[in-house]
């Protein structure tokens, strides 16, 4: 075992440790478990299932539909749509939830009429249904970009060939979609969808506000309400089981995907022309996700901003923005470095242990941030008792926590492009007796510049939006835009909260711009 392999295993285990500490505690018995199983578990599981199913269906329709039109068709405004469709990604679910929070209040007169004339029970049912619907719509419209991006990338790689062959066979557009595009992009859809599901499960603030008892809510209720960590961890195990089954399905379906049907010539991407009468329809269709996922919340925040009264001299909003950018940059750089290094080691030395064990490091993304926080606190406590030092409360601790949660975000793009672009080249470098450091810096780094940049940008956006981990693990006097927004919303200062919310979105803009440009160029 050389030092590179050893280092990779060490880092992997370090990142896996908090997750291990969560899983390890699963079979602790607790007095309240029977109570939870009897009264709550079914409710938690069903409401989680409703939300996840609804969001899955809707975000798939939106993501796949828009990707299909924007990537494979030619019509006016297509180029603009192509990138504004990614924008909803910048809006954290909790901010979208608050921006949409009083939509139900608008319906109050109708409910009041309903309540009096039809009945309380019926009204409650309708209302419950509407709440689920709103939450599903809300999540779908801000999370669909994960599906959109992944399907678009897959279409850019293989869509050209499919469409060309289909057109020469005289297939109509809707048949091309049903018979060719849908089956061939299935792995991409599932990959994007699994991210959507994980983000949905990660949410606490939005479902809490709308009064939906998902598993995530249940975890907190057991932990905080019953002071019962064991039950909280047990519920987490249900959540993790759920996510793992999704991940495994993804792996099986993705395993069938073949990379060798890549067809390069992007310059001559044939697009299906849209007929004149349909242009308007198509445009509206692709514009709607942008309206609901981005424009409405964004404009809402802007109008709140007009009402807000920020005293800029007093406000440390500049400092907070600086903190956010600073921590997001450090986190994204370190995470990409780690993902890059471990993938390089895995690819270069092809050590069996590293190959198997490195998968452990990316489990964190499937676990809600707040549960990861439990793991980190547990780890902190172990380290504290054995070595008498604290890992939390410093920027390092926070970055470490982000690493546990977001390594997978950087991992996927780096792993797949390294597999595609560097596998035989690394072998060549080895047999030419070049040192591994030379291969790393002179070959892999320059070749993978773009995927690395994209990975870093996505992590950047994710960290800038991150709330639960930051909230509990941050150092003294340290606020990010996300925690500050949360703080203000907690005080019901919606107007005031608009500025930090908008800033989260705005600092993600350049990242979105680069992601769009680079994903297009690269393929």
């Amino acid at each position: 075992m050389n030092s590179w392999n050893f280092l990779s295993i060490l880092i992997t285990l370090m990142i896996f440790l908090p997750i291990f500490l969560i899983i390890y505690n699963f079979n602790i018995e607790s007095d309240n478990w029977a109570h939870i199983r009897e009264n709550l578990l079914g409710k938690y599981i069903f409401s989680t299932l409703y939300i996840v199913l609804g969001v899955s269906v809707l975000s798939t329709i939106i993501g796949v539909g828009s990707a299909w039109y924007v990537t494979c068709h030619e019509f006016r405004g297509r180029k603009t749509l192509e990138w504004i469709l990614i924008l909803p990604m910048t809006i954290p679910t909790y901010i979208a939830a608050y921006a949409y929070y009083d939509i139900l209040e608008l319906l109050n007169p109708i409910f009041n009429w309903f309540r009096i004339n039809i009945g309380i029970k019926e009204t409650m049912m309708v209302e419950s249904f509407l709440i689920y619907l709103i939450v599903i719509i809300l999540f779908s419209f801000v999370l669909y970009p994960y599906v959109y991006l992944s399907v678009r990338a897959s279409l850019l790689i293989s869509g050209n060939r499919l469409i060309e062959s289909a057109i020469t066979l005289g297939l109509p557009s809707n048949k091309i979609f049903k018979k060719l595009i849908l089956p061939s992009t299935k792995p991409a859809i599932i990959a994007g969808l699994s991210l959507v599901i994980m983000e949905t499960l990660n949410d606490y603030a939005a479902v809490e506000y709308f009064g939906i008892s998902t598993l995530t809510i249940g975890i907190f209720r057991s932990w905080f309400g019953m002071y019962d960590m064991a039950s909280a961890l047990k519920l987490s195990s249900y959540l993790i089981l759920f996510v793992f089954s999704i991940l495994i399905t993804e792996k099986i379906i993705r395993g069938k995907e073949r990379y060798n049907n890549i067809n390069g010539s992007q310059n001559t991407f044939s697009k299906i022309p849209v007929k004149n009468k349909k242009i308007f329809l198509v445009f509206i269709l692709c514009f709607t996700p942008f309206i609901f996922g981005f424009l409405i919340p964004f404009v809402r925040l802007l109008t709140w901003l007009l009402y807000s009264s920020f005293n800029f001299e007093d406000m440390n909003i500049v400092q907070i923005s600086f903190n956010t950018i600073f921590i997001s940059l450090i986190a994204s750089l370190s995470i990409v470095c780690i993902a890059f290094t471990i993938n390089f080691v895995k690819n270069y030395f092809n050590n069996r242990i590293v190959r198997k064990i490195s998968e452990l490091a990316i489990l964190g993304y499937s676990i809600p941030g707040a549960i990861i926080a439990i793991g980190i606190l547990k780890l902190n406590s172990h380290i504290n008792t054995s070595f008498n030092i604290l890992i939390i409360g410093s920027v390092f601790g926070l970055v470490f926590a982000y690493g546990v949660r977001f390594l997978a975000v950087a991992w996927q793009p780096i792993q797949s492009s390294m597999k595609k672009q560097c596998a035989s080249i690394n072998h060549a470098s080895r047999v030419l007796s070049a040192s591994s450091t030379t291969s790393l810096f002179k070959i892999n780094l320059p070749i993978l510049r773009k995927p690395l940049l994209i990975a870093a940008l996505i992590v950047f956006i994710d960290v800038a939006k991150e709330l639960p981990l930051t909230l509990i693990l941050r150092p003294f006097n340290f606020d990010t835009l996300a925690t500050y927004t949360y703080d203000l919303i907690n005080q019901a200062q919606f107007f005031q909260s608009s500025l930090p919310s908008l800033l989260i979105i705005v600092i993600s803009f350049p990242a979105i711009y680069f992601i769009n440009r680079n994903t297009r160029d690269e393929l």
């Binding site: 050389n2 030395f349 092809n350 672009q421 035989s424 080249i425 072998h427 060549a428 470098s429 080895r430 047999v431 030419l432 007796s433 070049a434 040192s435 591994s436 002179k442 070959i443 320059p446 070749i447």
Partner: protein, 327 residues
């Protein structure tokens, strides 16, 4: 120079090398021939250190590089591999590629000579994607030679090349290798390519060696039907039909002994040279004119066989006609 001792390698549950042993001397140019999946590429990757066998020892230049408790990583074996897809570094110019290998900068004289011999002077400042397959192939070869390796390994060096480039480059390869007296192992699925480049051919199948010999030996006396077929369509005639034949005979465990006659060994029957020859008569089933040769299938009812033969005569041969040939 190179010793493989009882190498066993699995991919998952599939056994690709099955206790293979092989010894190659210094300066030898050896071709390893086999169908795809026969384990030939795996052999190269194991020797270069990119794969680790489950069992077996490898000795390279008098040093054990692989055994149950020793593993020398590829970068320390000085055993250069030319990849099938060339694996040039896309972010470097051809010259940078050539001088990438460890120690290549100390061999500047040899490198410039190599550049000259392979005629790649003009593309040295270009990037791989700007060059043709043949050019990339030559750069990959020079890059591997530039480190003055103990042994140079080539994985299907000719498979991606156009027909007209093949003979040119195969000549170049054997010339370069001979000039610098490097030991070479070349993997190919095309035995004709192997015959052009190497002085020893090893045929492997299912992870074991079927036959090991000079090109002539392999050509003249293939050990089995499988080896014989590497040279294209050929004829196997039961020995019992012509027990006195002096042609090459293939013995195998599960079949009767067979006489092996290549299509181009046949000629039109003529009484004066027919002594001791194998004489066959049959009805012409098909005739095809390829280049200057006539490729004929003869239906021989008396021996229940179709015979494939190639004649280089100008003669009016129609389907259905009876033809008598000898070999």
């Amino acid at each position: 120079m190179v010793e493989f001792e009882n190498i066993v390698k699995y991919y998952g549950k599939q056994r690709v090398l099955n206790g293979l042993s092989l010894s190659i001397g210094k300066g030898e140019i050896v071709s390893v021939v086999g169908s795809s999946g026969s384990g030939k590429t795996t052999l190269l990757r194991i020797l270069s250190g990119l794969e680790i066998p489950e069992l077996g020892n490898i000795i390279l230049n008098d040093a054990v590089v692989n055994s149950s408790d020793i593993f020398i990583p590829p970068e320390k074996r000085n055993c250069s591999l030319v990849f099938q897809d060339y694996a040039l570094f896309p972010n470097m110019t051809m010259l940078e590629n050539i001088y990438f290998g460890e120690g290549s900068k100390n061999n500047k004289e040899i490198v410039s000579e190599l550049i000259h011999v392979t005629k790649i002077e003009k593309i040295l400042n270009k990037y791989p994607h700007e060059c043709s397959g043949g050019e990339q192939q030559r750069v990959a070869l020079v890059r591997s030679m530039a480190t003055q390796p103990n042994v140079i390994l080539m994985d299907e060096p000719l498979s991606n090349l156009d027909f007209h480039l093949k003979s040119k480059i195969s000549l170049m390869i054997s010339e370069i290798i001979r000039r610098y007296t490097t030991t070479a192992i070349i993997v190919t699925h095309d035995i004709m390519d192997a015959m052009k480049i190497s002085d020893r051919i090893i045929v492997i199948d299912n992870g074991i060696i079927l036959q090991d010999g000079s090109p002539k030996e392999i050509y003249d006396s293939p050990i089995s039907k499988l080896v014989a077929r590497y040279f294209g369509e050929t004829n196997f005639i039961p020995l019992e039909l012509y027990p006195e034949s002096n042609h090459h005979i293939i013995y195998s465990n599960d079949e009767e002994p067979l006489i092996h006659v290549r299509p181009n060994q046949f000629q039109l029957f003529s009484q004066k040279n027919s002594k001791g020859k194998l004489i066959i008569e049959g009805k012409i089933k098909s005739v095809k004119n390829i280049a200057s040769d006539l490729h004929i299938f003869l239906e021989c009812q008396d021996i229940h066989l179709d015979i494939h033969l190639i004649l280089s005569v100008e003669k009016d041969l129609k389907i259905g006609k009876i033809l008598k040939v000898m070999a």
